[in-house]
């Protein structure tokens, strides 16, 4: 969803509202929302004018896994969905916009959702948390934590007869227990524990009001319980065992007939519970599908009198006649998706089936899909009454790239690109240079420009009326400049190329967040017998700027063909401007690590080394030229690997070409140079991080490749609080990644992870929990090189007598001084990053993704180990802040303002062309893009700067000079005449 126009207005709050508490703030926001639509718009501009208007904020929900339509006669039509990103959301069926949304915790996955009483949404998540939400506004009504000992399949059942106002019960099966929960306040009324780990498959209410639970209690036994709805007493208990065992997946054909598979998945078992007895009917799969020898699976969709059986290449729809006879209705070839069935008024049932070939179904609608969306993964069907009183259907379709479509009358009514909720990697690309601008266009834009500036001048001089103010505001919001597909002077406009978990590459324009192009990777490799294409990472492949200006930049997408890390890799090179695939190939080796080298060939293609799981290095691109470039650098190239499971860090150098493989010039053997072995009984690696490979640095230290590694005591490897302060400790290492030298090693007693760290220039900042102080802490370590200390004299620098440019071998071990300091920090941290600017001169800010899904910018000056409680005047001159116990959190320094980047996972920073400015891209379920200027924009005027006013002032001044000159001449003449 792209926020435009009106919505953007209320995102830009002046930070003075920050001080108020959040609730009041929210109210204000909603109020404002309503106001902005109806009441005059012209109040807003002045209120919000001083906020940056270039932020990009988009809200997503992720891949939908459950959907419930709300079929209300009047009012807004909506669908409630639960997604794999643990989001519960209510969407407008007409436009696909969000009514409300809740992002549950990371480990709080939704098992089931339902709508009860027409206005409550009931969700069951992480197997034991039952919540009720108000459907119109998404407010939580109640939440109930069920006491569950073991996690297992859980489900709930809402009796259909439930009425508003009466205290009815919701029955929840979780962890081998059956709970009856009050629908009014979520209190557990009764709880029934079953013996021998019963896994309930179905709950339903008999016409007499009793509750029937059917489930498997062991691998070969079926149990049926009938319980009293009032107090949970067991009225009837029947069980039967089947010698072949069960696969524990069942599909209910009717209330007393269900089908399951035996443990080998070769035999279909029809279970008939009719008449108080449990009877089994077995059918071999090979009898149903002739010549089929593989295993089968039962699809979990709910039908009446039917079930769906999934074989390797097809889905079979089967009808059950008189409780025992099977009849094949339809065989559908893969890939296809089937929805749950819907009951229609006259006893018919309907279900949606989507497939990618022709069908002779009764009601057939064909839609044209974008080929970049892949195949259909899930379908949810909803019906409505057409104007001619017949049944109409609409279907919610979940695609392979996790996008969501609503299909009605053979058309896509709306679509949501929800794959963007699961970005795993991102990179940026410059936009094309503007060339060949027509005169008419220039004239037009100049006219626009003059008009805009005149308006601005009016605004500044308080001459503007309400209409003009509205026009100014509109101009700012959808600035024509912002959305251009060309490079801008300041380098603020870029293409964000992101890779999602679904294996889709998308290019987003940073101006308005629109999708410029998208590319699904899996169709490229369907012929390579690549079953599971797992996307891994994305890199800049070609960044033309000197030699190859006419070529488009391109990105390198690395993926893996299989679930394991030793599966062969796949690389694709994609044009950044058009999304066209230049080349895509399955590699003969696996991908363990990718190293972009600081070398490019004549077409500005960056050389990459891919390390496979045999510790062999492969050079890409595979051209003779790249070999010639790389060979001289071969002896000076090193790499390291952090083996967290083994507790070792190892450094390697390159040797020569691979010996055992047949004549591959692009394959190199590697040799172990150094190793650090952590004692497994006392230390466990929890985190390792290093500088970004493309960081531009201003401070140069001898140790070029600083590696930060943190280890904790094995007992304290769990969550905070899992260990006592006495047994928890955190050891932090700074390692020179070339020689393996430990530069710094320090132990924090009583500290525990999770550890977040960021390495930049000559410092590292890390965040952890101090168990003794019960607070989070942040520490900074700065490494300074003694060998270049005598360069301090400015005269030496001027006369060129410094040794900054002389090459030094990494193998000399100069003395380094290490300074560190720790501070308390209020927030728990999700992720950390640091700003990066074009030349690295501007001071840095740490960008901290807080637990509240916001991004906080913290000046690096607060994390300076030279801070003392009472700095000397000369230190103050340098900008050293007096030492405080904890780091300040300044409300104005949230770069996300009042917005929340729900489910924040990562923050990427990239330099703009302006030295003062750094671009920030924060992603999670939501996306947020903005630019920050850690030292203010000292090198540019603000966007609001009125050039016209400046020009007018100059003109007026010049004119007045002439006027006064003429006047004074005249006066002088008169004086002379006197």
């Amino acid at each position: 969803m792209i926020y435009t126009g009106k919505s953007t207005v209320y995102n830009k709050h002046p930070s003075r509202f920050w001080c108020r508490d959040l609730e009041a703030f929210r109210k204000f926001r909603t109020k404002l929302h309503f106001f902005s639509t109806s009441v005059s718009v012209f109040h807003l501009p002045r209120m919000f004018s001083w906020f940056p208007l270039d932020d990009l904020y988009q809200q997503y929900i992720g891949k939908v896994k459950h959907a419930i339509f709300h079929a209300q006669k009047a009012g807004r039509r909506r669908v409630v969905v639960a997604t794999e990103e643990n989001v519960i959301a209510s969407l407008d069926l007409r436009r696909g916009e969000l009514f409300w949304r809740h992002v549950l915790g990371e480990n709080d996955s939704v098992d089931q959702i339902d709508i009860a009483l027409g206005k409550y949404v009931i969700t069951l998540s992480s197997g034991s948390i039952l919540r009720t939400w108000n459907l119109p506004d998404g407010q939580m009504v109640w939440e109930s934590f069920l006491q569950v000992s073991a996690s297992s399949m859980s489900l709930f059942f809402v009796p259909a007869s439930i009425e508003v106002g009466t205290d009815q019960q919701i029955f929840v099966s979780a962890g081998g227990c059956l709970h009856a929960v009050s629908s009014i306040d979520g209190e557990v009324i009764w709880k029934r524990e079953f013996t021998d780990s019963l896994e309930i498959q179905k709950l339903f209410q008999t016409p007499y009001g009793d509750i029937t639970a059917i489930g498997f209690s062991s691998s070969s036994q079926i149990d049926i319980y009938q319980l009293s709805a009032k107090n949970g007493d067991i009225l009837v208990h029947k069980s039967a065992s089947f010698p072949g065992g069960f696969s524990r997946e069942a599909s209910f054909v009717s209330g007393d007939v269900f089908v399951t598979l035996d443990a080998t998945r070769y035999i279909l078992v029809l279970v008939n519970l009719n008449g108080g007895e449990i009877r089994f009917h077995q059918t071999h799969i090979s009898d149903l599908a002739e010549g089929y020898s593989g295993t089968a699976a039962i699809l979990p969709q709910k039908f009446t009198g039917m079930f769906a059986l999934e074989l390797d290449s097809l889905i079979m729809l089967m009808k059950v006649e008189s409780g025992r006879d099977l009849e094949i209705i339809e065989k559908i070839p893969h890939p296809a998706s089937i929805s749950d069935s819907l009951f229609l008024a006259n006893g018919q049932q309907a279900f949606a089936m989507v497939k990618h070939e022709e069908t002779n179904n009764i009601l057939k609608e064909s839609i044209n899909l974008d080929s970049q969306r892949g195949s259909v993964q899930k379908v949810f069907l909803n019906n409505y009454v057409k104007t001619d009183k017949s049944h109409g259907f609409r279907a919610l379709v979940v695609m392979e790239d996790h996008s969501l479509l609503l299909v009605q009358q053979g058309e896509i009514v709306w679509s949501r690109e929800d794959g963007l909720a699961s970005i795993i990697a991102s990179t940026t690309s410059e936009l094309p240079v503007e060339k060949g601008v027509s005169v008419a266009k220039v004239e037009h834009s100049i006219f626009e420009w003059i008009k805009g500036h005149l308006l601005k001048v009016k605004g500044t001089l308080m001459l503007a009326n309400a209409e003009d103010l509205a026009a100014i505001q509109r101009m700012r919001l959808k600035s024509f400049e912002k959305t251009k597909m060309t490079r801008d002077h300041n380098g603020f406009r870029k293409l964000l190329v992101v890779l999602t978990r679904a294996g889709k590459v998308l290019a987003l324009h940073t101006g308005d967040g629109r999708i410029v192009w998208s590319l699904l990777l899996s169709p490229l490799h369907s012929s390579d017998s690549c079953q599971h294409l797992i996307p891994v990472d994305i890199y800049q492949w070609q960044v033309p700027h000197h030699h190859a200006m006419d070529e488009n930049p391109s990105v390198l997408v690395i993926s893996r063909c299989g679930l394991h890390s030793d599966a062969p890799g796949v690389i694709s090179i994609v044009d950044s401007y058009s999304g066209k695939v230049f080349s895509s190939s399955k590699l003969s080796h696996s991908v363990l690590q990718v190293m972009p080298l600081p070398l490019t060939d004549s077409t500005e293609q960056r050389l990459h080394i891919i390390i496979d799981d045999n510790k062999k290095a492969h050079l890409y691109p595979r051209t003779p030229e790249s070999i010639n470039i790389f060979r001289p650098e071969l002896p000076n190239t090193y790499w390291y690997s952090v083996e967290a499971v083994k507790g070792a860090i190892k450094g390697y150098s390159f040797r020569g070409n691979c010996i055992d493989t047949d004549e591959d010039d692009y394959c190199f053997d590697t040799r172990e140079l150094w190793s650090i072995i952590f004692p497994s009984d006392s230390e466990k690696i929890t985190g390792a991080t290093t500088r970004k490979y493309n960081e531009v640095r201003f401070i140069i230290v001898h140790i070029q490749n600083m590696l930060f590694v943190a280890t904790v005591s094995p007992r304290a490897a769990g969550n905070i609080g899992s260990a006592t302060p006495e047994e928890a400790y955190l050891v932090v290492y700074l390692i020179d990644a070339v020689t393996g030298r430990i530069i710094h090693r320090v132990t924090h007693l009583g500290a525990q992870g999770p550890i977040h760290a960021v390495v930049s220039e000559n410092w590292v900042v890390y965040h952890y929990f101090n168990l003794r102080a019960h607070k989070y802490e942040m520490s900074v370590v700065e490494v300074n090189d003694q060998s270049r200390q005598d360069n301090k004299s400015i005269w030496k620098l001027l006369l060129g007598k410094h040794n900054l440019t002389s090459p030094v071998s990494a193998f000399s071990q100069p003395e380094v001084t290490v300074k560190s300091q720790s501070y308390f920090f209020t927030h728990s941290v999700k992720t950390m990053a640091v700003t990066s600017t074009a030349k690295g001169i501007t001071s840095k800010q740490l960008l901290i993704g807080t637990i509240g899904d916001q991004v906080l910018a913290l000046d690096k000056r607060y994390l300076d180990p030279r801070r003392t409680p009472d700095p000397s005047p000369s230190e103050r001159e340098e900008g050293i802040i007096p030492l405080t116990d904890s780091l300040p959190i300044i409300p104005q320094s949230y770069v996300t303002h009042s917005l929340q980047v729900e489910g924040l996972r990562g923050i990427a920073t990239m330099p703009a062309k302006l030295e003062s400015t750094s671009l920030v891209f924060a992603y999670g379920v939501d996306l947020f893009f903005t630019r920050v200027a850690p030292s203010r924009t000292y090198d540019s005027l603000t966007e609001d700067f009125s050039y016209a006013l400046l020009l007018i002032t100059i003109v007026v001044l010049v004119a007045s000079i002439f006027v006064t000159w003429a006047l004074s001449e005249k006066k002088e003449l008169e004086e002379k005449w006197r």
Binding site: R671, I677, G740, I742, V746, S779, S809, F811, S812, S822
Partner: protein, 279 residues
């Protein structure tokens, strides 16, 4: 590598320098590094106390891609501390002399600018422990007159975390090919164990209370009166001076009035003359 984590036998570092921000104080028992000449007696002749145990650690080396072969022996005493931990002390090192074959191999890696690799067991009690710890250096960094080498062994109890091996001096790049005059190792060894992070004492509340929105904690030192108010004092002085001069001029005002009337007279005199001229 001489951060104050350890005490060198040559230079006793001053911890007060870091004391202010609570940098580091050596926590665990840290053994003194030993400058070991190639021919040093083994620990056999040292009368060991009852709680100390002598351990030997074999150093192995490899030339370029060759296999590892024994190159020397570290001898140390294992000391049990009160709280159950064990630390190594009194480390001594005996380097085996290079054989002719090894000299040739060394010359070869010098010519090829290849690596000289050493390794130590990762556990001193039951070598090689889980794995060996390895360290390498470009062979050309070692030769001076003799072969200068410098070991930094990072210990964690009885485990060797890592060993950093290299020359004591800077290694220039591009590395020049030079052969040592004496094929003898001049070894220096440092044992290093971890240090403890220590927070500086918690600040008084008033420091936090005085913190401004910008986070500037302590008040700036009091400026002198002149430094603070010069911009008011100078205009004030000027006004005062002005007033004084005016006050001094006051008595002369009649005189000034006289002069004024004189000029008027002159003007009056001149006016008729001008009129006459025009005529």
């Amino acid at each position: 590598m001489f951060s104050s984590a350890f005490q060198s036998d040559e230079l006793i570092q001053d911890d007060e320098e870091f004391g202010l921000e609570g940098g580091r104080i050596p926590d665990r028992e840290i053994s003194t590094p030993v400058r070991a000449a190639p021919r040093v007696k083994t620990s056999g002749d040292v009368s060991s106390p009852t709680d100390a145990k002598s351990v030997q650690i074999t150093l192995e080396h490899a030339f370029g891609d060759s296999d590892f072969s024994p190159a020397g022996i570290f001898t140390a005493r294992l000391k049990s501390s009160n709280h159950g931990g064990q630390t190594l002390t009194k480390l001594r090192f005996k380097r085996d002399a290079l054989t002719d074959l090894e000299k040739k191999a060394f010359e070869r890696i010098l010519r090829n600018d290849d690596f000289y690799t050493i390794r130590l067991p990762s556990n001193v009690l039951n070598p090689p422990g889980r794995e060996y710890v390895i360290s390498s250096v470009r062979a050309r960094c070692l030769p001076r007159e003799s072969l200068d080498e410098h070991f930094v062994i990072n210990m964690e109890g009885v485990n060797i975390l890592s060993v950093t091996y290299g020359s004591t001096r800077m290694c220039q790049y591009p590395r020049l090919l030079e052969y040592p005059t004496k094929w003898v190792f001049n070894s220096r060894t440092v044992l290093k164990s971890g240090e403890l992070a220590q927070r500086r004492p918690t600040f008084a509340e008033e420091v936090l209370a005085a913190e401004s929105a910008e986070g500037e904690g302590v008040k700036p030192p009091e400026k002198s009166f002149w430094a603070k108010y010069w911009m008011y004092l100078i205009p004030l002085g000027l006004i005062v001076m002005n007033a004084i001069t005016q006050a001094m001029n006051l008595p002369e005002e009649p005189a000034a009035g006289q002069t004024a009337s004189q000029t008027q007279q002159q003007g009056a005199q001149r006016a008729p003359s001008a009129a006459t001229r025009r005529r």
